[in-house]
Symmetry: C2
Subunit: 102 residues, 2 copies
Amino acid sequence: MTYQNALIALADPTRRSVFEAVAQQPSSVASLAKSVPVSRPAVSQHLKVLQDAQLVSVTTAGRQRIYSLNTAGLEAIRTYLNQFWDDALGAYAAEVHRQTQT
Amino acid sequence: MTYQNALIALADPTRRSVFEAVAQQPSSVASLAKSVPVSRPAVSQHLKVLQDAQLVSVTTAGRQRIYSLNTAGLEAIRTYLNQFWDDALGAYAAEVHRQTQT
DNA sequence: CAAACACGTAAGTCATCACTTACGGTAAGT
DNA sequence: ACTTACCGTAAGTGATGACTTACGTGTTTG
């Protein structure tokens, strides 16, 4: 369920930039807003989407909100993608079998 | 460059359904259109996006176009995501180091 | 050669979404 | 207490994109 949100979250370029910045180093919202060509509220909205997708986590520190990487969303995508590697192997085996049937 | 297109391609639900159907079994366009609640031209458009993202490949067979799984797009996403696991490990190590500094 | 099939593409429509400004609420500084 | 800093949310706008119908191209069949 969450891998769908994670894929949608990482599809947008600026939201992906925000995510990459958070992954490199836990940061506040204002700090993240400086590394991206959009307004601070826009960054907040992106962070909400990333949080729903379990790609980032928050911790309140005084009047700051420190966002950090959450691997749960990444794990969700990875397990989803692994399924297709099995499909690829199956298809390859089937092809080999077909070629062998002279 | 292609991992961005791959993420965008897999973000849409119906396009993801088309991709999953192709991964399970190489199919023609008309065949795929039956497994999804949209028109045949819509499926064609989705397949174009998937092909640009190197998630599917085509091979012409008579008047049919057989689409099959292409692991290149999947590989692109995987290597992109792996980078963040390294980030997570680095952040964890830094945290351990901080906790150790009494 | 004509008819039918499989498919891609063009053009247009409608909804979703990314972004902005404006506002309210909480925590720190003076 | 008053001001300043940090942040989330509401409302509105513009653009992107997913979908439809209509049409053109190439391939098989009668």
